[in-house]
Symmetry: C2
Subunit: 191 residues, 2 copies
């Protein structure tokens, strides 16, 4: 990302509201701890080898063209390499993939040490074939927000396990909530 063009995103011309200082960061964090999210692993081929991290911030933002977004914290060691790589693989995890989620959320380890867990796409990115689904794409825009960067990825390739193994257990998604792992099933339905 040596050169970058300014783009469609914009900051509104309102002045900064310093009453924000009065919001307790703890209250903000507590509210979102109770806000559940699907779990993903983002991988890329960085300049020094494969990098990856577990994220609970992935969502589909546009179908035309197919685009997803996620956020990268400035505190994440893998973030610079992911942004520099330019292309990424976003893995959507199932309930039987907690081990992967934990590995890619753990600091100070080689997350790619177990070479039975991953392979490489012909396009060069590391991929975790056990993931319920993965999407390969290209970073097309970025927005800096506080101490994070929101990254938009245009999807170029989609692979779902459910097409190959259409059994119910594999389709059960992994959910992160209140520092715990959950899954969904007929029993968790409401209404």
């Amino acid at each position: 990302m040596a050169t970058q063009h300014v783009l469609a995103a914009r900051r509104l011309p309102r002045t900064v509201d310093h009453s924000a200082d009065m919001v307790a960061v703890d209250d903000f964090k507590a509210a979102f701890r109770n806000h559940p999210a699907g779990v993903s692993i983002i991988t890329a081929q960085g300049p020094s080898g494969p990098v990856g991290l577990t994220a609970s911030s992935v969502f589909s933002v546009s179908a035309n063209p197919p685009t997803l977004v996620f956020s990268l914290s400035a505190h994440s060691s893998a973030a610079p390499a992911i942004r520099e790589a330019g292309t990424v693989v976003v893995h959507l995890l199932g309930a039987d993939q907690v081990d992967l989620a934990t590995t890619f959320a753990t600091g100070g380890i080689d997350r790619f040490e177990d070479t039975s867990m991953w392979s490489r796409l012909v396009t060069g990115e590391p991929v975790l074939p056990r993931a319920s689904a993965w999407l390969r794409g290209r970073i097309v825009s970025e927005m800096n927000v506080g101490d994070s960067t929101v990254v938009a990825v245009q999807v170029l390739q989609v692979k779902s396990q459910s097409a190959a193994h259409p059994d119910a257990e594999q389709a059960r998604p992994l959910v992160y909530h209140n520092r715990s792992w959950h899954s969904l099933s007929a029993d968790s339905m409401v209404m």
Copy 2:
């Protein structure tokens, strides 16, 4: 938003990859249908009165300053009024608030018809007091992505029901997955 300043977000200088045309939009949508998400309602005081919509794209992006993001589809009738309002209330929903989620996801109705469901903050925004938590904030940046806009909101005020009514049922969050409503509990935990 009559005047807007260009900002921190940027498009990378890579050329558009036309192999994206080969991605089946149906495969992309199917992969994300199986990606669960917490459920929120976003409200604002638009130029012609209160507006609101149900969203499954809200996440916390930065704690410093406290900032969340969500996406607004260009196809959403409420989107222009929300962007113009400049300040919004983001409600994080619990399992006992499916009726609210459904109302604010239904087109062609007056979503604010039932005046027992909402009130107004002293700052002017409509608020749904039954929501498990709500956060009021100011739109600080936007990024256009495909047919949607990703909006970043700096949070100015947080209110959680759990502080007032710390019972377990109210804390159970609402999850949207595969076109169904789910909740989480001790029974849905994995590992």
